[in-house]
């Protein structure tokens, strides 16, 4: 599973090394996304990586297959058009938590509601990396960021629960520390027909880690190891305790027909 040879075919070697900070989790996420494509044997020409605007969005520069990067927050809406015009493509959207959960939240809900056959990977580094570490909707309450020096006001948004409620076929969450689990979820998501989403907690040592005095990347991973707990355990916690933790696990696994399939069936009836 860790064989870099397998992902060779998808990498733009000339463009490496990447621009991400030392200890950033984005490289790990990209690697496992590409491994997922490799394991499923998806040919370069039949995959599209649609990424958002943000640090994670830069992943598109490091792949050598079809790549799309639109405007901040709108990735899922663009990808909806890409998928519907060419339904045999494997469309993977890679977005930051700000991109997907703030400016683009509307599109997440509606992509999930339509059960569009797209895989969304959310790189949740708990803040806006690209613009210098401001708080995002998924920043935990009281966290320090460049725009919440006294601690963030307001609870963190759980994007997974929203996507699940809206109608996604597959929703899971893990962390960059839990590599095997992350790998498995990405594979399951790619294998899902309909809307699938994997949210991955990932270290941003440069901003979130530094502002919150968590330490370097290793210590951030330690934090995920300790604080990201299995879903069933999390659900049995008191709410006050939940606030200091993240859940991980599979939230939804369904097999509802996707938008395109249903749309075409309706027409056939007409």
């Amino acid at each position: 599973m860790n064989n870099l040879k397998e992902i060779d075919q998808y990498l733009a070697h000339k463009k490496l090394p990447h621009m991400w900070c030392p200890g950033c989790g984005n490289g790990v996420i990209l690697k496992h996304l590409l491994l997922g494509l490799a394991v499923l044997g998806i040919p370069r020409e039949k995959a599209v990586l649609a990424s958002g605007i943000g640090c994670s969005g830069r992943a598109g520069d490091y792949v050598n297959f079809h790549r799309f990067q639109g405007t901040h927050g709108r990735t899922l809406a663009f990808a909806t058009g890409i998928h519907l015009s060419n339904p045999e493509l494997t469309v993977v959207c890679l977005m930051g938590d700000g991109d997907c959960g703030a400016i683009g939240l509307n599109h997440l809900l509606h992509a999930a509601r339509r059960n569009i056959n797209i895989t969304a990977i959310v790189a949740n580094n708990l803040n806006y990396g690209m613009t210098g570490g401001q708080y995002s909707p998924s920043t935990p309450e009281d966290s320090l960021t460049s725009t919440s020096r006294q601690g963030k006001t307001g609870a963190a948004l759980d994007l997974c629960r929203l996507a699940a409620e809206a109608g996604a076929n597959y929703v899971a969450r893990s962390t960059v520390y839990h590599v095997r689990e992350m790998h498995k979820y990405i594979l399951e998501a790619l294998n899902t027909r309909g809307f699938s989403m994997v949210e991955l907690l990932t270290p941003c040592p440069t901003y979130y880690g530094r502002y919150n005095k968590i330490g370097d990347a290793v210590q951030m991973l330690e934090m995920f190891k300790e604080k990201a707990i299995p879903l069933n355990k999390f659900q049995n916690m008191e709410e006050s305790e939940q606030q200091n933790h993240f859940w991980r696990g599979v939230l939804v696994r369904k097999n509802n027909p996707d938008f395109y399939t249903r749309y075409r069936q309706k027409e056939a009836v007409q």
Binding site: G60, H66, A77, F78, G81, N86, H110
Partner: protein, 372 residues
């Protein structure tokens, strides 16, 4: 073969899109453009096409751009408020060179204005609504027939130039019913596609006409698309050389080829004393005024713009050179007038209406007389 149909402007735009090869429509309902969405929803599935109603206009234009990159000719239709929302992604389509058509059925006023009443207030929004330097193509039909003809043209130009094309109609033409002749087939332009070795293909390397050839997602030729400044291979770049060259090319690939855009129509004497410049619904009144002026023995000519952007400066200055009076007739506070003046016709006057009422031929005749 052609067949005659009695259609509304909105219907003509929709039929034109489908005739031009559009197979994807994404939109969000808004008066006075809604019929385009409704008719697209009904007709597109019959052509193996797709209609999707998105969550807002930002998503609508995004889906249209995505579908175009997936290989379908795609369009959307909206009006002022939705047109404002689309601006960021229209700029993206300019930057990433994605063919698509946006029909903006202009309605009255800023903000929500009056949803059912006409205006021509989006001339500058079409030109400069999205940020930073760029060129844009915008066409303005003046009849239901032209809603059909210029919408077909819009799709062809979008493919030819790999750029978004805006069709500016208005609430009056959108709901006006006129007899339209619809040909069985129309001349369509398909985007230039890559050939040759797959390995060497660079998605943003310009062809001789400055427009890069374009594969779809899913083709063997790998398509790398980003709104960041990008090199010819499609990888993002912050190199000043790359940035400068790209922005210049995006502008020049259109501005140096304006002879391929629909020309203005001129009706009137060879050396008119008074020239009326107008477009869209207002141009109809101008033409009617000029006919009456002729009967009265006055020397009045009308330049009717079909392409608003790029502004057909040369055509206009050539005719206006010998004119004593130039009157720009439009349903806004003088948006095109500024352009006419900027073209060197500094003495041009505006005849404007911004109270929801369309401009009448009598007003133009009177306006002309006042200037005389």
């Amino acid at each position: 073969m052609t067949n005659m149909q009695f259609l509304q402007g909105n219907e003509a735009c929709t039929l034109a899109g489908i005739a031009a090869g559009a197979r994807f429509f994404a939109g969000y309902p808004i008066s006075p453009a809604t019929e385009i969405a409704e008719l697209s929803a009904k007709l597109l599935p019959r052509h193996d096409g797709i209609y999707i109603q998105m969550e807002d206009e930002i998503a609508s234009i995004a889906a249209v751009i995505g579908a175009s990159l997936g290989g379908m000719k795609a369009f959307t239709a909206t009006s002022g408020p939705g047109f404002s929302l689309m601006q960021e992604n229209i700029g993206f389509a300019v930057m990433a060179e994605v063919p698509c058509v946006i029909i903006n059925v202009q309605r009255f006023g800023p903000s929500t204005g009056i949803a059912t009443q006409p205006g021509q207030g989006d001339i500058m929004t079409a030109r400069w609504g999205t940020h930073s330097d760029h060129s844009i193509v915008a066409l303005a039909p003046a009849s239901v027939q032209e809603c059909f003809d210029l919408t077909v043209e819009a799709f062809n130009l979008a493919e030819r130039f790999r750029t978004p094309v805006i069709v500016l109609t208005d609430a009056t033409i959108a709901h006006l019913r006129e007899t339209v002749s619809i040909p069985d087939t129309v001349k369509t332009v398909q985007r230039a596609r890559p050939s040759g070795p797959v390995e060497n293909y660079r998605p943003y390397a310009p062809a001789a006409n400055q427009v890069p050839v374009m594969p779809n997602y899913g083709d063997d030729y790998i398509l790398r698309v980003t709104g960041l400044v990008h090199d010819e291979a499609g990888y993002s770049s912050a190199d000043p050389e790359v940035a400068g060259t790209l922005v210049n090319r995006l502008i020049n690939k259109i501005e140096k080829y304006t002879d391929e855009l629909p020309e203005p129509e001129y009706a009137g004497p060879d050396r008119p004393e008074t020239v009326i410049i107008s477009y869209g619904i207002s141009a109809r009144a101008a033409l009617s005024a000029a006919r009456r002026a002729k009967q009265q023995g006055r020397s009045m000519g009308v330049i009717r713009l079909r392409t608003i952007w790029p502004f057909p400066e040369k055509f206009i200055t050539d005719i206006c050179r010998s004119a004593a009076r130039v009157l720009v007739v439009e349903m806004n506070k003088g948006q095109l007038l500024r352009e006419v003046r900027a073209a060197g016709i500094t003495e041009a006057y505006g005849l404007n209406r911004t109270d929801t009422r369309v401009i009448m031929p009598e007003e133009i005749l009177e306006g002309g007389v006042l200037l005389e």
